[in-house]
């Protein structure tokens, strides 16, 4: 568990971090909470030449209310999100989800920006981020832009972030009711299936994680839902290529996706 050598630089601003990324390209990687990056480096599965620590950049760990949105800085830890009264008041489901992540150590260090950028197909946040219709604020050398959650997750560990872009904040519309239910993988406790259901003006929106190579909005469920949770949940994996691993075959995982969607819909109703 000894990493290959790398250079470590602590960035003091977003612009410093971005210029380092620009200068060193593929060789440099951002570090926030380190709870995904460092294990990979220790196992030498990932061997960056330079690690740019953005963990202490001022202003990236704020949580605030902006109109109808809750804005969460990329460096906010899971613990911060779980215990923030602003988050609990505006999108309680996100606070509840944060509580389900890993253990205390992970929640104290791991960040929402790191989790979203890492895009583990079994991570918890993406289900809620999708269901809530959040937008991800990113910044690159070309300036700032926002990405819709539905466009953000693209595959296993793959996002819409450009090479030299970083996440600045997540903008989440407030919602009055939402649930996140997960069936944990017994070893890692990541989601085998995690279902977020959130009430919106048109009914409900559903985000599913753990099921496919990346989290997705279960629109087929949303449009089918008219109060009959079981019938709607039957569409949970429509058009989805369901993953298979040592803990859940695709058949079982698809079944769990339906069960958890049904349970989430029932819990919401």
């Amino acid at each position: 568990m000894i990493p290959a050598k790398f250079e470590y630089i602590k960035a003091s601003s977003v612009s410093e971090a971005l210029s380092l990324l620009n200068k060193h390209g593929d060789e440099a990687q951002l570090l926030s909470g380190g709870h995904s990056l460092i294990p990979a480096i220790k196992l030498r599965l990932n061997q960056p030449k330079m690690v740019v620590d953005i963990g202490k950049i001022p202003g990236l760990d704020n949580i605030s209310e902006e109109g109808n949105n809750i804005v969460i800085g990329a460096n906010c830890t899971h613990h911060q999100i779980a215990t923030s009264s602003v988050v609990q008041g505006g999108v309680n489901v996100l606070a509840q989800t944060a509580k389900e992540i890993g253990d205390i150590q992970v929640r104290n260090k791991g960040t929402i920006g790191g989790s979203l950028a890492h895009a583990d197909p079994a991570a918890d946040y993406p289900a809620v981020i999708l269901a809530s219709g959040a937008k991800i604020e990113v910044e690159g050398s070309g300036g700032k832009r926002t990405i819709d959650a539905t466009d953000f997750f693209m595959g296993i560990f793959e996002t819409a972030l450009e090479d030299n872009e970083m996440i600045i904040a997540i903008h989440i519309p407030k919602s009055s009711g939402g649930v996140y239910l997960k069936f944990s993988q017994p070893a890692s406790r990541f989601a085998v299936v995690g279902c977020a259901a959130i009430k919106n003006d048109n009914g409900v929106s559903i985000g599913l994680t753990g099921v496919a190579d990346c989290a997705y909005r279960a629109s087929a469920v949303e449009s089918a839902y008219n109060g009959d949770a079981k019938a709607a949940a039957a569409h949970a994996v429509d058009g989805i290529e369901v993953m298979s691993d040592n803990f859940a075959s695709s058949e079982y995982r698809a079944h769990l996706a339906k069960v958890y969607t049904e349970r989430a819909l029932n819990a919401l109703a």
């Binding site: 568990m1 000894i2 290959a4 050598k5 196992l43 030498r44 069936f183 017994p186 070893a187 890692s188 990541f190 040592n246 803990f247 859940a248 075959s249 079982y252 079944h255 769990l256 069960v259």
Partner: protein
């Protein structure tokens, strides 16, 4: 008088453990110490065409690089010889310190890199180029013996290590099964487990050229045996030139009994480079190379008469021993396993047949329970299954078949069909108590009610017996052990009356520094603070066989008792002299000798001072108060008990939740109830882990797909309810403390209780069995097929 025995005295060692002050091998830093990293085989089976170490050697900080060619003549031995049924010696391939010619499992050591820092060693390891030619691999013990299977060792046909049988003649057993009124037959897979001690293996070897001596610091359960095996069978060193030290050890569960290749390699290499060398396993290496446990594929049948009495028990197993024979691997599926086939029952005919095989997997050896959990799982799972099939209550079925109570004193021990003679037991007692604790009648009502409401509740039983403190040496020797299984103890009374106890057993979580001090202090009638327990250093302790198989108190404790007897016997002579009385007129209590019927007495400390300042002293008596003893037990000890699990199953997902777990164990006399309870709790957690969560899986190429805590499901506190435990006491009749051993009982008894509870919850749906680990998916599939 007893001040300490039977008290839950807090463990003295915990002070240093929970404040981070323990001294583990990796904490030790020696001057000029170098660090070793391995290049390990990424293939389960591959020919090594060539190894290019030039770039690694040129890397800054690298001190030496070794391949199998450099140390190819050494091999670590197996410690137990089991012969084929026809008398031929088992097949024992050389287990080289570094692979020679072929790599035979993923993770096998191929190249050793020694450097100034661990960083240098690891970096240089990446520069080694090994030209492998991948070969087909075999990982399943049953597949390994089929014609045409890949050959792990070119010179060992069909991958068979040995075949083995124990019990009554096969024809008689076959006939009884054929003629039985009912036969319950199950196929079992006792899956492979990773022991996962929290402290990974760690070794430091330090060769001192000035005196031509070696010191090996090692995280082992067994320092003297490591020294014996390494000196006599691997490196050919005289033992007086080698000191083995194992300070604090963070758990072993069996995996640190064995002599590993890495231990011998660092010791050998330390002399080559003339500097100390440290190697500490990381967690990934631990998953790949710490000896695994279990891994049997079995078919077992139990025949019953029309009253539910067992008429015969027949088993055939293929046991996977991995690519090489680890120290006690061969004893596990044979003498530690087949000998337990009697269970607690009066089964008149038993035959156990085992084929042990090589595969392209990490070596398998004893893991908490060692052969006994596997057998207990079969017997107890068959019992509950048979009860369901015959529509007899599982409790009733046990009561019909139990061996009647016997204390081993007024009633003789119970002679089994499989070599052992049980010492004492009262199987009804723990069962009755456990039934009371669980509220059995009420549970059956709750269960029926729950079923009406669409909920799946189940109860499972396990009335286990186990065999600890394996002995006597002559018997185990005749069964193939290449070591004795006695224990040594040296008690040194210091002149001022404090006591140093040197024991050959070894504590790595068991709390010996506390429980031993309790009975020593009580026996001598002195304060516990005056007693020190010393273990884990071959220079301090004369000899020892280490700790495993729940042997420490029963064997090691008894050796200490022998030395204490000698101390008190000699002390009485000195006391008699000082008190001007006859030895026969003295009594010893509360730390002093008193002339019976008088108030004339002399304290233990005054006697010990006299022994070392022998001015006014019995004629002809040697000075000093210091005795060594060796204790070779007359028999094993046989703890037993009843475990009951209650589970609930989510019928939508198949997820099993353990709702309650009741354990009533009888481990003989108890010195420290808290420590015993802790052992039971930990053991139960591991046993439930096997039932529901754990399992090492290799894919068809022999790649381990469960090589991290993200992929290998270790049980966690929130997987369990609080365990409800109680005890019965049937003293061991043949050792001075009357103790039986508590280290493995939890792991042996619990697994079948949980598996049985699952089946009790769902068998009414027409499900016959589910293999372990009983994962949600397996339950769901069974309910939906």
């Amino acid at each position: 008088m007893s001040n300490y025995i039977g008290q839950s005295i807090k463990r003295r060692e915990d002070d240093r453990f929970i404040t981070g002050k323990g001294k583990y091998t990796d904490d030790i830093v020696l001057p000029k110490m170098t660090h070793l990293a391995f290049v390990r085989s990424p293939y389960a089976h591959a020919k090594i065409n060539s190894i290019d170490t030039k770039a690694a050697l040129a890397h800054p900080g690298v001190v030496a690089v070794y391949t199998g060619e450099d140390c190819g003549n050494f091999g670590v031995p197996c410690g137990w010889q089991v012969n084929f049924k026809n008398g031929d010696t088992m097949k024992e391939p050389t287990h080289p310190l570094l692979a020679v010619g072929k790599a035979k499992h993923v993770g096998e050591n191929v190249v050793a890199i020694i450097a100034e820092t661990l960083q240098d060693a690891r970096d240089a390891a990446e520069l080694v180029e090994v030209d492998y030619e991948e070969l087909p691999a075999v990982t399943n013990p049953n597949a390994a013996i089929q014609p045409g299977a890949p050959q792990v060792h070119d010179d060992i046909p069909n991958n068979v290590v040995f075949d083995f049988a124990l019990g009554n003649p096969k024809e008689e057993v076959d006939a009884a099964i054929d003629g039985a009124n009912h036969v319950t037959k199950l196929d079992f897979k006792n899956q492979r487990l990773a022991p996962n001690a929290i402290e990974p293996r760690s070794y430091i070897a330090d060769y001192d050229v000035t005196v031509d001596k070696y010191t090996l610091y090692t995280s082992t359960q067994n320092p003297h045996l490591i020294r014996l095996l390494m000196c006599a069978f691997v490196l050919g060193l005289p033992e007086h030139k080698v000191r083995v030290i194992s300070h604090d050890v963070g758990g072993g569960f069996g995996s640190k009994i064995y002599h590993y290749t890495e231990e011998a390699l660092v010791t050998w290499a330390s002399k080559q480079i003339g500097r100390p060398i440290k190697w500490t396993s990381d967690r990934s290496e631990a998953f790949l190379t710490d000896a695994h446990g279990r891994d049997y594929v079995t078919t077992a049948e139990m025949g019953f008469d029309n009253n539910g009495k067992i008429v015969a028990f027949r088993v055939h197993s293929d046991a996977n021993l991995g690519a090489y024979l680890s120290t006690f691997s061969t004893a596990c599926p044979t003498y530690l396993h087949a000998t337990l086939a009697q269970g607690c029952y009066t089964t008149p005919l038993i035959n156990i047949d085992v084929t042990a095989t090589f595969t392209n997997t990490n070596p398998v050896d004893a893991y908490r329970g060692a052969g006994r959990p596997e057998m207990t799982y079969m017997i107890e799972h068959l019992m509950d299954t048979a009860a369901l099939e015959m529509k007899i209550d599982p409790v009733e079925l046990r009561k019909i078949n139990f061996i009647p109570a016997f204390d081993g004193v007024n009633q003789p021990g119970y002679q089994t069909q499989v070599a052992l003679q049980y010492d004492s037991g009262d199987y009804h007692a723990t069962l009755d108590r456990a039934l009371e604790m669980v509220g059995y009648d009420q549970f059956r009502k709750d269960q029926e009610e729950a079923r009406k409401n669409g909920k799946l509740l189940g109860i499972g039983f396990s009335t286990y017996i186990e065999a600890c403190g394996i002995a006597p040496s002559a018997v185990v020797g005749s069964l193939g052990a290449r070591a004795g299984l006695y224990e040594s103890a040296h008690v040194r009374v210091q002149p001022t009356g404090s006591v140093s106890v040197f024991t050959g057993s070894h504590s790595h979580g068991q709390g010996h520094e506390t429980s031993y001090a309790q009975f020593v202090a009580d026996t001598l009638g002195i304060p516990m603070e005056n007693v020190d327990i010393i273990h884990g250093d071959t220079n301090e302790v004369a000899f020892g066989m280490g700790t495993y198989g729940s042997r420490s108190l029963a064997v090691g404790g008894s050796a200490i008792m022998k030395s204490l007897d000698k101390i008190l016997e000699k002390g009485a002579k000195i006391a008699a002299h000082k008190l001007e009385a006859a030895v026969e007129d003295l009594e010893y209590a509360e730390g002093k000798w008193t002339v019976k019927g008088t108030d004339k007495s002399i304290a233990f400390g005054d006697v010990s001072l006299t022994a070392y300042v022998p001015h006014d002293y019995p004629e002809g008596l040697e000075p000093g108060l210091d005795f060594s003893s060796f204790y070779d037990p007359a028999n094993f000890t046989y703890p037993f008990g009843t475990h009951i699990a209650i589970v609930e199953i989510d019928k939508d997902t198949g997820k099993v939740t353990l709702k309650r777990f009741i354990a009533c164990d009888d481990v003989g006399n108890v010195i420290n109830p808290m420590i015993v309870e802790g052992q039971i709790h930990g053991g139960v957690a591991q046993g439930v882990g096997q039932a529901l969560l754990e399992g090492v899986d290799y894919d068809e190429n022999g790649q381990m797909i469960t090589g991290s805590f993200m992929d290998y499901a270790m049980p966690r506190a929130d997987d369990f309810p609080f365990f409800e435990t109680d005890r019965k006491v049937t003293p061991c009749p043949h050792n001075p403390l009357g103790v039986k051993g508590a280290g493995e009982a939890g792991a042996i008894g619990s697994t079948p209780a949980v598996a049985n509870a699952v089946m009790d919850a769902i068998s009414h749906l027409g499900i016959k069995d589910i293999q372990m680990p009983i994962t949600s998916e397996r339950v769901w599939k069974a309910m939906n097929s």
